[in-house]
Amino acid sequence: MISELIRCLGAAHVLTAPEDIIPYGFDGTAALSGTARAVVFPGSTAEVAEVLRIAGRHRVPVVARGSGTGLSGGSVPVPSSLVVCLLRLNRILALDQANLTLLAEAGVVTQRIYEAANAAGLFYPPDPGSMKISTIGGNVAENAGGLRGLKYGVTRNYVMGLEVVLADGTVCTLGNQCVKDVAGYSLKDLFIGSEGTLGLITRVLLRLVPQPESRRTLLATYAATEDAAETVSAIIAARIIPCTLEFLDQKTLRCVEDFAHVGLPVEAAALLLIEVDGHPAATEEEAHRIEELCRGHRAQTVRRAATPEEGAALAAARRSAFSALARLRPTTILEDATVPRSAVAAMVRFIEATGRKHCLEIGTFGHFGDGNLHPTFLTDERDQAEMARVEEAMKEIFAHALSLGGTITGEHGVGLAKKQFLRAQLGEGSYQLMRQVKRTLDPAGLLNPGKIFDPGDAP
């Protein structure tokens, strides 16, 4: 198989030496790794198709990869698999100002898409924490969220079309530039969030929106988490939809400050980072009302970023939260249990109690406005007893999230990390429907097998 791949791609784009492939053994997920047989870098959709045909002939599993920043193990190699790294597909092909769309190859880094839109006075809102290096193909495959989900939604809400390569090498174009299109099933939606299990995404057609004219960033600190949670409910009840409504507990904000030095108040028990955007008069009015609501709910301090640069620095610091928490302990396990936003306060209370019960260190931050929390276990994978308690606590947290009408993963995907909890959330009917879809599109079970569900799972 290797010689066929070399013939197809050239020797420079086929890696097999241990020193070359060990660094592809993981993504951004803690404590998960695997070893690939080879790592290949196709340079075009046609080459991706040919690679899939070669792998299919040799019955070798294929794992798609962009920059390898995923947080559920989606691009961790299956043993003896072929890792197909799409970073050479790195061109922005078109920015259509008349239709407000952008067409990019899968390996384009999300930050570049944001900047290209920005340069044209347009806006691509999804902003996962990894956007400086994660690729748009990976964002679509995981249906990545970000800080602006509350007002702007997630990656799915911006995908108008996809080019995908199926397991047998067939190339399909799904969707188009039309705002309205009901011709048949919406197949592109099947591939958004499919985690490389149904096909390989090679091109993405994105919807852009006009740039908001102004932004206001606020920082409110609290002596109690409860007060922060009540402020969030009050803001939503006042019919204000901020673009960003982020929560950091004390542990998280101290780590972030330690790294970013943006002047976060390290004595506060909880902090809200709030951003409103839109017409200058509207943002001014909303910022003012939010300030009042914060004070009315026992905020200790309420501060407004003086300049757009300061606001951007605060948001950038928040994006580093997950990695910054790694300062405290050797292993950092990030979860993204998500609940309807009315249940956020209850969920945070439950996470704190669970941490105490199992004697575990948990840092919690997240997108309070959309109910997407990131309880983060700070532990040491060499300590088996503690890892067993982490496992137990995680199960309890997921079960509680489900009992509140939530989900086991809001934006990171199932991958390897959460597949044991999926069945409980979906229920038998929709779980089997998903497996049926998988079997139909990937009958030989070669596309990222073992992700989302186990291949040998009883029907």
Partner: protein, 440 residues
Amino acid sequence: MKAAEANALTGLDYSTLQQCMHCGMCLPTCPTYVETGRERNSPRGRIALMRAIADGDLAVTKGFGEEMYYCLGCLACATACPAGVNYPELFEAARFAVEEERVLADPGRDLVRWATLRVLFAHPRLLRATGRLLWVWQASGLEALSRRLGLTRLLPRRLRALEPQAPRIAARFSDQLIARYEAPAAPRYRVAVLTGCVQDLAFPEVNRATVDVLLANGCAVVTPRTQQCCGSLHAHNGDQATARELARRLIDAVDPRQFDAIITNAGGCGSHLMHYDQLLAEDDAYAARAAEWSRKLRDIHVWLVEIGFRRPRGRPDQPTIATYHESCHLVHGQKVSREPREILRAVPGLELRECAEASWCCGSAGIYNITQPATAAWLQERKLGHLRNTGAQVVATANPGCQAQIANGFRQHGAATVVRHPVVLLAAAYRAERGMGSSP
């Protein structure tokens, strides 16, 4: 986990390796990853290899050795890393393991390493004698003659490519420009100045200017004679034993107990000098003095800002446009970034314009432009492009390697842009002040 063979990586505290949670935040800041797009050429990829060795899943191989020397050691990743991974420690341990296992050994490389690390840069008098010979060669016209006659073609290919990159050696070294003790009328502080080795041979005017600005700010200055290399070259290239020996000798020559501060003006040296406490932590005879050394070691810019340096007066008619290139080991190694700019902004008539990728490596990286000429040249061109875009007439930078690399680049392009250390610009501003006073 298999039993790994004992080496510098298996001997590390494992949690130093675990600290990397491979989130990928380092990737866009790593020049070698940006060049190749390959994980092994990235910080987290290199750490993955180190961890594989510590786990016993990979031996210290030639491929691993080559990778560790492909890394620039610019430490941009250490600034970008939210998790606070101690990359400098991992990197030095990895290169040490590579040298211990001798996976890159070949007679030519061994000879060059021995001649530079163990002979030339371990013996200050020999280094200066060599510098003197090189100066005779460059200044007497022999160099120009040999280039005209095409004699440089007789050199091996790699040396020939490097020959124009050799730093221009100065006519007089620091000891001839600076007295052992110089003091202003009523000194407020007593400091020692470290003159370095490359700085001393190629840019002794930086050392002179360092003393001048210290004198102008109330510091009595001791400059010990014939100083030797601080050992940074050795520590960054896997020769820990010589690095420790050189640190002990420098502490003997400059007793930290006698000074309020020990001043360094070279980014690369400073980032090694500040860690003498860690380097000699297990040396009973030196640990206490090394700890005091690290407490008192100051980069010149930091010291000047700390003591509230005096802003020079004057307002030249024609402003000069300047930009600042950050030495990797000053910005990423020592986290010093604000102070040099503060000094540049204080120089009358200097307009500071920021440059894109100011904190990216210029490709000099110690001896990297000798060991990896292709990547070094790519980085040099990238850097020159960004510097040119600012329209600057003066590029300020605070490390001799960067100064030579950027100046050589401009010279090869026939550009008139000059490269200066910030304290050279500050010292000139103080001198211009005196000139104004005497000619009313």
